[in-house]
């Protein structure tokens, strides 16, 4: 039976260094189709002897950008696919992908209402697709991103987030859990209920929440959001385990 989601050969058209461990690859797709922000693609790499490996990566770009997608890839030290994508791939390289995939951890402008996004580390990637789409479509309902990173330098998309935060009711709060730059006025601890209360207060109890990051952060944040009054069916989670992407 023919697959609905066919493998296609993506061409790397640009590579952007985001942080010391993170790069964004822009891929031109011959059979591009619009994704829903939050969806992912599968990447398949094949060695000369036929051995192949697959991983999933969230799309970082908005569907308004046609013909190409951005995949933001964090290098996992003992990983198999991410070191290849971050260290070996150069512009012009090609590899197989298929997608877009996933129908629950998705948000688009038709949803409406206020939006609470909680990210840990590279868990910000699918949320960035939502924020870029939100900006591209001119949504005015309030949105807040709470973003936990170890250090200021490990914040992905920092400049763009700060630019987005000046318009259309979007605000961003950082918490830096390992070290903070001099004069840091943001949060400097792991996510807790008090922090979730503060960032979600302006959004009300009916906000739709998307939480993405390592399992420990997702557990704390999703449980915390329930404790501070969001209903469980308004909290959507996606996790990056140690063995994840």
């Amino acid at each position: 039976m023919k697959r609905l989601l066919e493998w296609q050969i993506a061409t790397v058209t640009s590579i952007k260094v985001e942080t010391s461990e993170v790069k964004t690859l822009t891929l031109a797709l011959p059979k591009w189709m619009p994704h829903r922000p939050g969806q992912h693609y599968d990447v398949r790499l094949t060695a000369e002897d036929g051995y192949s490996a697959q991983r999933s990566y969230s799309v970082a770009s908005e569907p308004e950008r046609t013909g190409e997608i951005d995949l933001t890839v964090e290098r996992i030290g003992d990983g198999e696919v991410s070191p290849y994508l971050d260290d070996t791939v150069v512009v012009g390289d090609r590899f197989e992908v298929r997608g877009p995939i996933g129908g629950y951890f998705v948000w688009d402008s038709s949803v409406g209402g206020s939006l609470l996004l909680v990210a840990g580390g590279s868990g910000v990637v699918p949320l960035m697709a939502m924020l870029r789409h939100r900006a591209a479509t001119g949504v005015k309902d309030p949105a807040h991103l709470l973003y936990s990173a170890r250090t200021y330098d490990q914040v992905i998309y920092r400049q763009e987030l700060e630019m987005l935060a000046r318009k259309n009711g979007f605000a961003v709060s950082y918490t830096l859990t390992r070290s903070q730059p001099a004069g840091w006025t943001g949060y400097a601890r792991r996510i807790d209920d008090a922090m979730l209360s503060e960032v979600s207060a302006p959004l009300g109890r009916t906000a739709l929440a998307y939480v993405c990051g390592p399992t420990a952060l997702v557990e704390v944040a999703a449980d915390g959001l329930e404790r501070i009054g969001l209903s469980a069916d308004r909290i959507r989670t996606e996790r990056f385990g140690p063995s994840g992407p």
Binding site: T46, G50, Y104, A232, I235, R236, R239
Partner: protein, 217 residues
């Protein structure tokens, strides 16, 4: 970039990726034949779920068999633990590409549960339903004859909430989303009814050896 190293390899439909070698399991490990296509072995136990982890107290937990049965059956936690239990050692594969070998469980075989009810002969499909509203569907023939169990211990300890405790379904021969966490019962039906992920782009059946990951695979 005079040489792009891009060419079609010896496998007719496989596109060889320039410079990719991969990290394969040593042949001597004896694992090669146990890893479905596109999967890689992990040693930790990743957690995936669509929403917050439900935490139902054991005092209000129950497990129910309903649908096409003569009389529905239901057990509280203490009674469920009295059902004959077995140890299972199984390889499991998640659609997110990880495979974990030799996972050790304790629980009650679906065969044992079905001995407690009289099943209508029209029953052909099963929906497993869970705390938090999660559902997943499995054809009845794939749940019986030792193929599936309701587990409440993992690696000798009570099953942790993030892994589906107090009890989860385990159907090791299908992708692990079929192994419903926080299970509260099985509903027997004449017709197949797609569950949560099966309605959101994932395959209705989910056989890892056929790479039935997504709709239409």
């Amino acid at each position: 970039m005079g040489w792009l190293g891009l060419r079609f390899g010896s496998l007719a439909d496989r596109f060889v990726t320039r410079g990719f070698v991969g990290r394969r399991e040593p042949a001597a490990s004896g694992q090669a034949g146990r890893i479905p296509p596109g999967q890689h072995v992990v040693r930790d136990f990743p957690v995936l779920s669509a929403g917050p982890t439900p935490r139902t107290p054991l005092t209000s937990w129950s497990f129910r068999i309903e649908g096409l049965v003569k009389e529905p059956a239901s057990w509280g936690w203490a009674d469920f633990l009295k059902l004959p239990a077995q140890d299972f050692v199984k390889d499991i594969s998640c659609v997110t590409k990880w495979t974990k070998l030799d996972t050790r469980w304790r629980g009650v075989s679906v065969d044992i549960l079905l001995e407690q009810v009289e099943l209508d002969r029209r029953a052909g499909f099963v929906t497993a339903f869970s705390d938090g509203g999660y559902t997943t569907n499995v054809p009845l023939p794939e749940l019986i004859n030792g193929q599936a169990f309701v587990a409440y211990e993992y690696d000798g300890k009570p099953l942790a909430p993030e892994h589906g405790g107090p009890a989860r379904l385990v159907v090791p021969h299908l992708y692990f989303w079929k192994s419903a966490k926080w299970i509260r019962g099985l509903r027997f039906m004449e017709r197949d009814e797609p569950g949560f992920w099966e309605s959101l782009g994932y395959n209705n059946h989910g056989d890892p050896w056929k790479e039935e990951r997504y709709t239409g695979d």
